[in-house]
């Protein structure tokens, strides 16, 4: 896999250098399909479910997850995306990305939100996302789906649906993209 610019880790900055592949693109698709079935099983269907992807890594995954859910149950699910930049506790360390928009298509009051992200690490993004979701209405429940759980939590947060549990060292980096899931490091320029 080629080196990839990780803009959203600015101002630390740097280039993601991949070392080894953890999941191939078909593996990612299978994991998503399995997680979607778990969502249906746990909620007894897809009624009231709203799928929300976290900017930026969770957004493509959330769209695919919603598509699979819709396929399983023969329904169309509302899909949204959420940028948590204004809710973070480390504001300034991350830039506000122009492409990272928030779009919640429905009032979340009474809904079951399935929050989708690519990598679960310290848990701070999810903490911020839970705060942000509150401002869009009181959801009946919020469930968390992540493609990779890499450990190193700093807050009491756990995922409900996991693509892959991946023990990592703190300084390593996990990248989820069109080329599957890769583990590597962030090399400074």
């Amino acid at each position: 896999m080629a080196e990839r610019e990780r803009s959203h880790t600015r101002p630390l900055g740097g280039v993601f250098v991949a070392h080894s592949q953890v999941l191939s693109p078909p593996d990612v698709q299978r994991a998503l399909t399995r997680m979607a079935h778990e969502v249906v099983e746990r909620n007894g269907g897809v009624e009231d479910i709203v799928v929300i992807g976290l900017q930026t890594g969770g957004v493509p995954l959330s769209a695919r997850m919603a598509e699979i859910l819709g396929h399983i149950e023969g329904a169309t699910l509302p899909v949204g995306c959420l940028d948590v930049a204004f809710y973070r506790d480390d504001i300034g360390l991350r830039p506000v990305l122009p492409e990272a928009v928030t779009n919640i298509p429905v009032d979340l009051a009474g809904k079951v939100v399935v929050l989708v992200d690519d990598v679960l690490f310290t848990g701070r993004t999810i903490r911020a996302a839970l705060n942000a979701l509150n401002d869009f209405g009181r959801a009946r429940s919020v469930q968390l789906a992540v493609m990779v759980d890499r450990g190193h939590r700093e807050l009491p947060i756990r995922p409900d649906y996991v693509g892959k549990n991946l023990p990592t060292r703190r300084e390593e980096m996990v990248d989820v993209g069109d080329e599957g899931v890769w583990i590597g490091t962030l090399e400074h320029k």
């Binding site: 506790d89 480390d90 504001i91 300034g92 991350r94 492409e99 990272a100 928009v101 401002d135």
Partner: protein, 326 residues
């Protein structure tokens, strides 16, 4: 590198303006929510120090700060120690001693915010208008509004246009340029973004020297209107003595007001902006002020998002000991 203060549009440059517009777009989304408030600047204190009267700028800054969850202190100069003879420097030191993170200052003297910025030890200083000099946030919200209109017409998101949409845009600034801080900031902002700026005003209301200004002066106002994408109207600054620079208001309107007759000379797509407060019947005819192409209300709405972006860019950050991932 971001500037420490916002004193002049020149502090930002093309990239800085682009960043402000982009962040403001994110805040415009926050404003459209049913609960338009985010916790971003919780614990920060913002003070407004207005040594000159203002309605919209002050309200706009205070609304912006409150929507970011900052605490807002507003110093009403009329009832403050300034009236007892306290100097600007002592006022600033007093306010700063209370642990204020941002000082938003408007002053009748050009350069006052620059002086305050030199004295301030920790507070960020934002120029909300200094004399005839600059009013940077107004110019930024004008650019933001123009881009929003251009994007809407293309059926695109403003973000997709970047700042390239300003390249070659023909901007005509009309009126009391001599006494207008908005004009100076607009000239800097629009020209930094690649727009072609033309000024139209009676000779007495042009600055004594335009040396170094990246502008041309229209010899024929009516002819210039046909060649314009954005008309920026300015108010006659009566409080700065504009009245003695024109023979009479009626004559001013006849020569330089945007009347119904002149609006007909504009292209169909031309946008009319005005920083407010408008004086209907003088620089703008009442029916022109109410045309859809006149975007004054949109400018006021956008002012909040743009000022949220400025506060966020200046005050966000400074959280030591946290790493940026997860």
């Amino acid at each position: 590198m971001r500037p420490h203060h916002l004193l002049s549009i020149a502090d930002l440059g093309r990239d800085g303006i682009a960043e402000v517009l982009s962040v403001a777009e994110a805040f415009a989304e926050v404003e459209r929510r049913s609960m338009p408030k985010v916790p971003t600047l919780r614990g920060k204190v913002v003070a407004t120090l207005f040594f000159e009267e203002s309605t919209r700028t002050r309200l706009s800054f205070e609304t912006a700060a409150k929507r970011l969850s900052a605490d807002v202190l507003s110093l009403a100069v009329a009832s403050s120690s300034v009236k007892k003879g306290e100097s600007l420097r002592d006022t600033v030191e007093t306010v700063e001693a209370m642990g204020i993170d941002a000082l938003i200052i408007r002053h009748a003297s050009a350069g006052a915010p620059h002086r305050v910025a030199a004295w301030a030890t920790r507070a960020r200083v934002i120029n909300a208008g200094d004399g005839w000099h600059e009013h940077p946030t107004q110019a930024l919200l004008d650019c933001f509004t123009v881009r929003q209109v251009l994007a809407e017409r293309k059926g695109a998101a403003p973000e997709e246009l970047g700042v390239d949409c300003f390249e070659g845009l023909r901007v005509l600034i009309v009126g009391d340029i001599r006494h207008s801080r908005v004009a100076r900031s607009e000239v800097l902002a629009y020209s930094a973004l690649g727009a072609r700026v033309t000024l139209a005003a009676p000779g007495s209301l042009l600055p004594p020297s335009l040396e170094g200004w990246p502008v041309t002066v229209a010899s024929d106002f009516d002819a210039a209107l046909g060649d314009t994408d954005v008309v920026s109207l300015l108010r006659l600054q009566a409080e700065r003595g504009s009245g003695s620079f024109v023979p009479s208001l009626r004559e001013y309107t006849a020569g330089w007001g945007l009347t119904a007759r002149r609006v007909a000379l504009l292209g169909d797509e031309a946008i009319v902006t005005h920083p407010g407060p408008m004086v209907r019947g003088v620089e703008i005819a009442s029916e022109v002020a109410d045309l859809p192409r006149t975007v004054v209300t949109q400018q006021v709405t956008n002012g909040v998002a743009v000022r949220m972006a400025i506060l966020f860019l200046l005050l966000g950050g400074e959280w030591p000991g946290v790493h940026a991932d997860g």
